[in-house]
């Protein structure tokens, strides 16, 4: 996936200014940066939830706008932060929606197997018949991830998947992200606020500031004192734990 010169305005204010980068396949890419840097906007544009004012998103050799929405939904999945469902929906029913791009409302035997697999992959077997609105935040998040797994796409995009989760659930979520890439061979692109999660679990980091890419590169290239201090305007110390950089800010 190649992103070329994306720009976006809101009410005359420029939120994205000529953003270009290339997403390497089968890796975890984290987008970090201060609030309002445009991380979520980029994620929304490359997942077709939002239209850009200028620039092109080139998805597997073709402009993303040229794809049919249904075709894209088999290759690219997005999970946003706000997922409140007003319906009475059980976990299994939610996960089954992941098969909608393939079979519509009628699930085939193969779809059911995929749903079963996704549910056990996320260890949701115990609550597959519980209603979504009766689950805790962490369980609900896992149910949505299971749906994305059932959707079986090459690309998975997550907008702040650790938001509102405690450290136990947030760490689990990051391990799942890693597994999505290592075991299922997916390309995972996520927006993160916790720099250390990004440093520990990603292959590449895309740091943004003021609607522009401040730095894109491997974890070691981005997580260093100079770059982070410049992006966040905060003093940083970088330690090393298990061969990965750990940042301390104060």
């Amino acid at each position: 996936m190649i992103i070329e010169k994306l720009s976006k305005h809101y009410d005359g204010k420029k939120v994205l200014n000529s953003v270009s980068f290339e997403i390497p396949k089968k890796s975890v890419i984290s987008m970090i940066g201060p609030n309002g840097a445009g991380k979520s906007t980029v994620l929304n544009i490359i997942s077709r939830l939002m239209a850009q004012d200028e620039g092109v998103v080139n998805f597997e050799g073709k402009n993303i706008k040229k794809y049919k929405s249904n075709e894209l939904s088999k290759r690219l999945a997005i999970l946003t932060q706000t997922n409140n469902v007003q319906m009475k929906l059980t976990v299994r029913e939610l996960v089954s929606f992941g098969r909608f791009p393939y079979s519509g409302n009628r699930l085939t035997e193969e779809d059911k197997k995929m749903v079963d697999k996704a549910i056990s992959y996320m260890e949701l077997n115990d609550f597959e018949d519980r209603f979504i609105d009766e689950l805790s935040g962490g369980q609900r998040q896992r149910a949505y991830i299971a749906m994305v797994i059932a959707q079986n796409t090459e690309y998975v995009m997550l907008d702040e998947p650790t938001n509102n989760l405690d450290i136990y659930h947030a760490t689990n979520m990051m391990k799942i992200v890693r597994k999505l890439c290592d075991e299922l061979g997916k390309t995972v692109i996520l927006v993160l606020h916790e720099i250390n999660y990004a440093a520990f679990y990603s292959d590449y980091i895309c740091a943004m500031k003021n609607g522009q890419i401040a730095k894109f590169g491997t974890v070691k290239e981005v997580i260093n004192k100079e770059t982070l201090s410049e992006i966040y305007n905060v003093d940083f110390e970088i330690l090393e734990i298990q061969g990965k950089p750990l940042s301390i800010y104060y």
Partner: protein, 325 residues
């Protein structure tokens, strides 16, 4: 466990259908004089069209309310609460006002209905889709603006009737304050055809309703062409409300009651179930209410009084119990 829930829902459907059939039979047969065949056929001639109208109204309001709630992802809002039926009354009045009651548009009831529908479709979809976009689907704003719009449409409409020629007003009145005792039977066939056509034209979008309730982002993620789909569904809702209003006048709370009863009873996301359930509830409430109006209160109270009182209380109950409004 899932199969138990499914079986439960089937049982509920059987009970509900059974109740609806009982209501229909009671309505048709109550207080009938079987010895005098002329009286019998007279009673049938009055009751049968009314029955058909009530069923059509149940289908259009029940369907429209469920679809509308799913589209804007909130279960306490119905198209009527946003003033769609006052808009229809306004359009109908305006047509008579500007074309004159003697014109061909006003005298032929099917033609006038068709003309109203076209206007309604254009105006309502423009206003409401703009409204949703502008408020970014913020339900409280939508409700507030909807209430204001209701009064606005009603005031314009009353103003038009005040400055109208008294004779014109007289002809208009009978078609304007329709109720179940004064139904518009001339457009029954036209309405049935229209409903069937609508269901056929929107069959693809109706199948997408289950996914749409997951929210805009999820719907797009799962491959729904969201904006086009929503626009089509809103158009369908508008036309359904227009049909119901043209036949029996505005009954604001009916949609709210039957849609929520259906949601409460079936606890499912499947819209085929929800729409069917809400239609059945509509038939039970309307026909049951009409039996009470005709045989207990002997026409001294219109059914809209019951619906408004009952619906108002139910609306409050929903507001107080639904934490995530």
């Amino acid at each position: 466990m899932q199969s138990i829930a499914k079986r439960n829902n089937t049982n509920k459907f059987i009970v509900l259908t059974f109740m609806a059939i009982i209501a229909v039979i009671t309505y048709m047969l109550i207080d009938l004089n079987f010895e005098n065949s002329r009286l019998l056929s007279f009673a049938m001639k009055i009751r049968f069209p009314k029955l058909i109208v009530m069923i059509i109204v149940s289908i259009s309001i029940g369907g429209a309310s469920i679809i509308f709630q799913s589209v804007i992802n909130n279960r306490i809002v119905t198209p009527c609460l946003l003033g769609m039926n006052s808009l229809y009354s306004l359009i109908h009045t305006a047509v008579v006002f500007f074309a004159g009651s003697a014109s061909i548009i006003a005298t032929n009831s099917n033609l006038s209905f068709a003309f109203d529908l076209i206007l309604m479709a254009v105006v309502a979809t423009t206003i409401y889709s703009y409204l949703f976009k502008k408020t970014k689907h913020n339900v409280l704003y939508v409700l507030l603006i909807g209430t204001v719009l209701t009064s606005l449409f009603t005031s314009i409409q009353t103003t038009l009737t005040r400055i109208m020629d008294p004779n014109e007003y007289d002809t208009l009145l009978s078609s304007l304050v329709a109720s179940f005792n004064n139904i518009n039977t001339e457009i029954i066939i036209f309405s049935i055809i229209l409903l069937v056509l609508l269901a056929y034209a929107l069959r693809k979008e109706l199948a997408l309703l289950d996914v749409i309730t997951l929210g805009k982002a999820q719907a797009i993620n799962l491959g729904v062409d969201y904006d086009v789909c929503i626009r089509k569904l809103l158009l369908g809702v508008t036309l359904c409300i227009a049909i119901a209003t043209a036949m029996v006048g505005p009954i604001s709370f009916l949609g709210l009651i039957i849609a929520n009863l259906s949601r409460q009873l079936f606890k499912t996301y499947r819209h085929t179930h929800l729409i069917l359930g809400s239609t059945l509830f509509g038939i039970i409430v309307l026909i049951g209410g009409q039996i009470i109006v005709e045989h207990v209160y002997t026409y001294s109270m219109p059914i809209s009084v019951f619906i408004t009182v009952g619906g108002g209380i139910y609306f409050l109950y929903l507001l107080l119990t639904n934490r995530r409004v």
